[in-house]
Each structure stands twice: as structure tokens, then as C-alpha cells.
């Protein structure tokens, strides 16, 4: 379909463009201007940005369909303007063999919504013992390999996994968490956990593991992406590692960017997250790191959990928060707090995320895939269970009024969502 988007404020972080204009789309790609479009969208008052790229969104299939399904979560994605997403391998069974990955990709493709990029399991069943067939999994469509939230305790296996991945030039995505120090912990080891009597995960559970990973990157030159940084110390270490020229990138999740351990309040199970929400000081360091580029991109770490999983005492509640539909509003909120130009703010969920993921979308250049989000940056909405498309209603932001409403989402030139 030939489509024209008129009078939009076009914001393309990759080129730095920010100005009113028209956008033309043909054959699924951003095109040169043409006459007689089949459809014209008047986007006056809306921002036209590259569709958002969420590098961590759990779709819960296979295995956890009672928490969410591909259908429900893909609806949530496009309602949030997310046109590409990477899904971690912690499904049941985990994404550790080509057949599973193939099935997931087919199912996702049939829905014709957002593009789904599976992250393969780094070890069989995520058990941290045997490597998966990474090369084959990559052929099936895995863009990277990860342990999701399961720490890899055996450093020899980690070392070998990085060597093996480096052999094939495959990226490895790791969350830095020592397998023992924080064992049994459910909250940041600090004043709040002490007050609430919750077992703690010290900040050094992250920095110790990160130091190990960085040493192994030095040794193997594997390309490693560090997921969900949560501490000020880790941001500082990443800053030094990048200065040194190590092939590393990192991200932070929307919740850790805005919340801290004090937000646990009276045991709010929606704040039960992995890694745990840390101190205000950590949160501020993450925010600064994301601004100065030490932290490459921002993701939702979308984890739908059903009420049965959350209506439990804090420590027994399942970790995670729903996030696909909050990615844009919380990114905008961050940019506003730090007084950043819109193009720079959006870069963290478009062009920068594309670079981490290794995809060609995330920009509005002529010839790029026509994945576009049209949103009203001023329109606010209240986060309520009934307004969320995701099957997971679990978010610490319930009841919040957040600005940034998506009006249209286009994937490969097709309007897949309008509101």
C-alpha cells in the first residue's frame, strides 16, 4: 500500500532530523515523495518516529500461556508503538533448540504485528552446563544468546560459551548477577530491605559478576551485551570498559530508571523485580549513564505475571512487571526530567536499540523498513488494568497518569494499530 503521512513532526534520531513534514511509504519501505497515495494520514500534532525497538519483552510462549499469549502481548506491543522486540529465552521449555525457535517465529509472523527476534538460550535448559547449538539456532533466527535471569554459576562454562560464541561472531547477552551472593534475596540489600525484613541482594552481586564478564570479554573478545544494569557501580565499570574499547554494550529497564527500593512501600509485589529496585543513588546513576551514552538503550523488560503470581507475600511473588505499553511514556518521562531533545530521548528506544540488536530498522531514512510510530506526546492516559492490552496487569505504575499516546503503529508499511 502506498501511504502518505502528512503534517507530522518527524523525529528521526538516527539522522537527528526533527521538523514538520510528510512521510511517504511504499512497498513496506520509507520512500521518496510520490503523488496519489492510497491512504493519507493527517498527523497534525503527532510525532512520527521510527517504531520502537524493545530489546527485552517476554511473550510467555511457549509454556506460560496462562500468563500471556503471543496474541495478547503482540497487541500490547503495537498499542505501545513497539514494532520490533527481542524475547528472552526463559520460556518453558526454554528456547534452546531450533524447532522451538522456528515455531515461535512462525507463530509471531502469522500475526503480522511486530517483528519478533528470539534470543536463544546460551546453555541447554538454561541450566548452565551444556552449550546450546548456537550456530544452528542463529540460522533459525536467534539474534543473540542469553541466560535470561538465570545466573551462570560455573565460570568455566561461561568462559567456554563466550569463546564459542566469539568463534561464530554471535553476540551474548548477560545479566550480571553473582549466583551465590544474592541467593534467596528479593530486594536491594539496604535500609529498605532491612526495615521490611526482606532478604537482600547486595549491589556487589552485580559488580562482582560484571567484573568477571568483562575479564572474560578481554580474554575472548566475544561481543557481550549486559542486560538490566541496576547499580551505580556497574555503570561506572561499563564506562571504563567502553573507554578501554571492549566490545560491550548495555541496557537498563524502564522500572529501574524511574523507581528505587523506597517504592516498595508496604510490600508492593508489583515492585518485585529482577534485578531488585536499588537505591535512589543507583537510579540516578542509571539515568545519567543513559543520557551520556554509557548505557546504550532502554527496554521494557516486559514480564506479564497473572494475579495468582502477584497476590502473594512479597518474597513469594513472581518477579517482573508488564511494560510494553509503558515503554514510550516512561522514555518520554525520562527525557523530560533530563531536559533532553526529543530525538535524543527517542534514540534510546529506536536507533540505539537497533544498533544493539543488529537490525536495519529504527530509522526513517529512505529505503529503511517502514516501521513507524505516530504518537501524541502531550496526550496523557491513566495506567489501569482495563487500559492495558497486555494480559499482565502487573505494574508499579498502576493508577499513574503518563503522557505519550500512540495513535498509529505501522509495521512494514501496514497500519497494524490505530486509536
Amino acid at each position: 500500500m502506498k501511504l502518505a503521512i502528512k503534517n507530522a513532526r518527524i523525529v528521526d534520531p538516527a539522522s537527528g532530523r526533527d521538523g514538520t513534514g510528510d512521510l511517504y511509504i511504499a512497498e513496506g519501505k520509507i520512500s521518496e515523495p510520490f503523488g496519489q497515495p492510497e491512504r493519507t494520514i493527517d498527523a497534525k500534532g503527532l510525532v512520527a518516529a521510527p517504531g520502537f525497538i524493545d530489546i527485552a519483552a517476554r511473550l510467555r510462549e511457549p509454556g506460560f500461556e496462562y500468563k500471556a499469549t503471543l496474541e495478547s502481548e503482540m497487541q500490547a506491543a503495537i498499542a505501545g508503538g513497539v514494532t520490533s522486540l527481542a524475547c528472552p529465552p526463559d520460556t518453558d521449555p526454554p528456547l534452546d533448540e531450533p524447532g522451538l525457535v522456528d515455531m515461535l517465529r512462525r507463530r509471531a509472523k502469522a500475526l503480522e504485528h511486530a517483528r519478533v527476534y528470539p534470543i536463544g538460550a546460551l546453555t541447554v535448559k538454561l541450566e548452565g552446563e551444556r552449550l546450546t547449538e548456537m550456530a544452528q539456532l542463529a540460522e533459525t533466527g536467534c539474534v543473540a544468546f542469553s541466560q535470561a535471569n538465570v545466573p551462570l554459576a560455573d565460570t568455566q562454562v561461561l568462559w567456554r560459551a563466550l569463546q564459542y560464541a566469539a568463534t561464530f561472531g554471535l553476540p551474548v547477552w548477560l545479566r550480571a548477577e553473582d549466583a551465590w551472593i544474592g541467593k534467596g534475596g528479593v530486594a536491594h540489600d539496604g535500609e529498605v530491605a532491612t526495615r521490611l525484613g526482606l532478604p537482600g541482594v547486595p549491589a556487589f552481586a552485580e559488580t562482582i559478576a560484571l567484573a568477571t564478564v568483562l575479564e572474560l570479554v578481554r580474554a575472548t573478545r566475544a561481543r557481550v551485551h549486559l542486560c538490566r544494569l541496576s547499580t551505580a557501580g556497574a555503570v561506572e565499570m561499563m564506562r571504563a570498559a567502553k573507554r578501554e574499547g571492549l566490545p560491550v554494550t548495555c541496557d537498563v529497564g524502564i522500572h529501574h530508571l524511574h523507581l528505587c527500593d523506597r517504592d516498595l512501600g508496604y510490600f508492593d509485589a508489583n515492585c518485585r523485580l529482577e534485578p531488585p529496585l536499588r537505591s535512589q543513588r543507583d537510579r540516578d546513576a542509571l539515568s545519567r549513564g543513559l543520557e551520556d551514552g554509557t548505557v546504550d538503550c532502554l527496554c521494557s523488560d516486559h514480564t506479564p505475571v497473572d494475579d495468582d503470581g502477584k497476590h502473594r507475600p512479597f518474597a513469594e511473588a513472581e518477579p517482573g512487571a508488564t511494560g510494553l505499553e509503558l515503554l514510550l511514556p516512561l522514555t518520554l518521562k525520562w527525557g523530560e526530567e533530563r531536559k533532553l531533545p526529543l530525538a535524543k530521548t527517542l534514540a534510546r528506544i529506536t536507533s540505539d536499540a537497533a544498533r544493539v540488536l543488529g537490525v536495519t530498522s529504527g530509522r526513517l531514512a529512505i529505503g529503511a523498513p517502514a516501521d513507524v510510530a505516530l504518537f501524541d506526546p502531550a496526550a496523557s492516559f491513566r495506567i489501569l488494568p482495563e487500559t492495558l492490552k497486555s494480559q499482565g496487569k502487573n505494574t508499579p505504575f498502576l493508577g499513574y497518569e503518563l503522557a505519550g499516546r500512540v495513535r498509529y503503529t505501522l509495521v512494514a508499511g501496514n497500519v497494524v494499530y490505530e486509536a
Partner: protein
């Protein structure tokens, strides 16, 4: 994210549930202690009953085994003329996979007035309090490491009984503060009632991160920590913590952190010694101290019943 209203207090600032001492205004604490004082008389009478909770049902919901606390709650409820139903959930529904909230909803359908809840997970009574009906009340009988407010209150009662006021007291809490809900509740109570110096004494492995933020002074050396104390509160050391990564042995622990007459001599002459029970003689406390003239461990138990009567009668009246 929002600053939530204290879930224990109703719209008028009165005690709706007792979940934690933290955040309770001084007036509420004093009200409970004063009410308890009036009930001490009742427990000494020949007919040990008052009709305050006649016709009310108190459900003792114990998700974690306990004999002592459950019994004292039962006695307290009976002395208030309530009907008491004991449920030892640790061995019933939970093992059948019923969720905590389902259990509570079922009991609520049986017309409960007060739920006395013990649970091994911190915060469980808060979850229950959020889901009970407006006329139902939740009393926390110990949740994980978080709080044991009635124990904290009976400790406060005991201290007030022997020391009259809190404004000049130095109180030392000794031992496994990390895992202790008793310590947390007492610390909040003492700071709310303006005790000028609260000390915690223990090896670093048994002190939680940032404990100073609760308003206490930390001592690693017990002798130093006991110096000139008016009140010494010994904490129970659980068996499973005596050997392993936290402590090498019970013997070594006793040598450094066990309360003996010789160490107690460093405290003030009229110091009182408390213990929430059950005691490990020879581990955290020497028998000569436990049974000695400074010990007020048994009066604590007696006061505990009056304090629990006070708590239940107050929440039921609000």
C-alpha cells in the same frame, strides 16, 4: 510509587489492624500500653474474663508453627470472651496448594472478626489486610523477619513497668538482629517512645545492611555495648544458624555474645534482662542470668497476655 496511607490506621487515624510498630504514632502505642495495664488486673483475678469480645470470632491463622505465641493469643482472646478458632495452616490447606488469599477468603466467609496471622514471609499480613472486609481486623503475630508487633509491645510494656519512662534509657539488643522480627519491632517502638539510646550488639554476619538507619548504634564488642545499659534484650539464635557461613559454632558464639553474669556486671546495677523466648541456655544466655535477679523473662510472658488483650480489644472497637 505513591506515598501510601499507613494501612494499619483507618480514616480517623485509629488502629484498624496491627501489622507493624513502625509508623504507629506515639499516642497509639501509649494507648495500647495503658489499656494493657488495665488488663493486668483482670489476669490476676479469680474470674479472668471480661466480656469485651463476646460473640466475636478470633481466627488464629498460623502458617508457621508456633506454640507459645499462638497460646498466648488464644488465652488473651478467651479472657476477652471471644470464640477462638485455631488453624494450623502449615499442615493443612497450603500443602494442598490453596493460595493464602483463598484461605483467608474462605475463613472470612465463616464470619471472622479478627485474624491473628503468623507467616514465614515478610509482609504477608499486609497482603491479607488489603483483602479482608472492612469490619475484619488483622493482627500480625510475626511475619518473616519483618515484624512481631505484639512481642515488641510486650517488651515495651515490660520496660515501662520496671523503668517507668523511656526518656533516659539505654537499651541493648544482642544477637541475631538480621533474622529477628522481634528486634525490628522493639527498635521502632523504642525510637517512637523516644528512648535516647538503642544499641544493637552482634557479629557483622548477624546485623542487617544499613541497620544504623533504624536509629541504633552498632557494637561488635558485647562488653563495650553493654556498658551502662538499663535494659538488655537477648535474641534467640536459631539452631540452623549456629554453624555455617554465619557463625562457626555455638560455643564461639556463647563466648563472645552469650550473656553471663560477668558481662552483665558491665550494665547498670539495676539493669533488667529480657528474652522473647524460647531460650537457648548456654548459647545466647547463661542459666545464672536467665534465672537470676535481673531476669524479667517470665513477667514478660504474663504481660504478653495483657498486651494481646489490649490490641484485640482496641482493633475490634475501631
Amino acid at each position: 510509587m505513591q506515598l501510601q496511607r499507613n494501612p494499619q490506621l483507618n480514616a480517623n487515624g485509629e488502629l484498624q489492624h496491627l501489622l507493624s510498630i513502625e509508623g504507629l504514632p506515639r499516642e497509639v502505642l501509649t494507648q495500647i500500653l495503658d489499656t494493657a495495664e488495665s488488663f493486668v488486673g483482670v489476669t490476676e483475678r479469680e474470674v479472668k474474663k471480661v466480656p469485651l469480645l463476646r460473640g466475636k470470632s478470633v481466627f488464629n491463622l498460623f502458617f508457621e508453627p508456633s506454640t507459645r505465641t499462638r497460646t498466648t493469643f488464644e488465652i488473651a482472646a478467651k479472657r476477652l470472651s471471644a470464640d477462638v478458632i485455631n488453624l494450623n495452616i502449615a499442615v493443612s490447606s497450603q500443602t494442598k496448594g490453596e493460595s493464602l488469599l483463598d484461605t483467608v477468603a474462605n475463613l472470612s466467609a465463616m464470619q471472622a472478626d479478627i485474624f491473628v496471622v503468623r507467616h514465614d514471609s515478610s509482609g504477608a499480613p499486609f497482603l491479607i489486610a488489603r483483602h479482608v472486609k472492612p469490619h475484619e481486623h488483622v493482627v500480625n503475630a510475626g511475619d518473616g523477619r519483618h515484624a512481631h508487633p505484639t512481642q515488641g509491645l510486650l517488651d515495651l510494656y515490660t520496660i515501662r513497668h520496671y523503668k517507668k519512662d523511656f526518656s533516659r534509657l539505654t537499651v541493648a539488643i544482642v544477637g541475631d538482629v538480621l533474622h529477628s522480627r522481634v528486634a525490628r519491632s522493639l527498635i521502632h517502638g523504642l525510637t517512637t517512645l523516644s528512648a535516647p539510646e538503642v544499641r544493637v550488639i552482634g557479629p557483622q554476619t548477624l546485623l542487617p545492611a544499613g541497620v544504623e538507619a533504624l536509629g541504633v548504634k552498632v557494637f561488635r564488642d558485647m562488653r563495650e555495648g553493654l556498658r551502662d545499659c538499663d535494659v538488655v534484650v537477648m535474641l534467640r539464635l536459631q539452631n540452623e544458624r549456629m554453624t555455617g557461613a554465619l557463625l562457626p559454632s555455638a560455643q564461639e558464639y556463647f563466648k563472645h555474645y552469650g550473656l553471663t553474669l560477668e558481662k552483665l556486671a558491665l550494665a547498670r546495677q539495676d539493669a533488667i534482662v529480657m528474652h522473647p523466648g524460647p531460650m537457648n541456655r548456654g548459647v545466647e544466655i547463661d542459666s545464672s542470668v536467665a534465672d537470676g535477679p535481673h531476669s524479667v523473662i517470665l513477667p514478660q510472658v504474663t504481660f504478653g497476655i495483657a498486651v494481646r488483650m489490649a490490641v484485640m480489644s482496641i482493633v475490634a472497637g475501631n
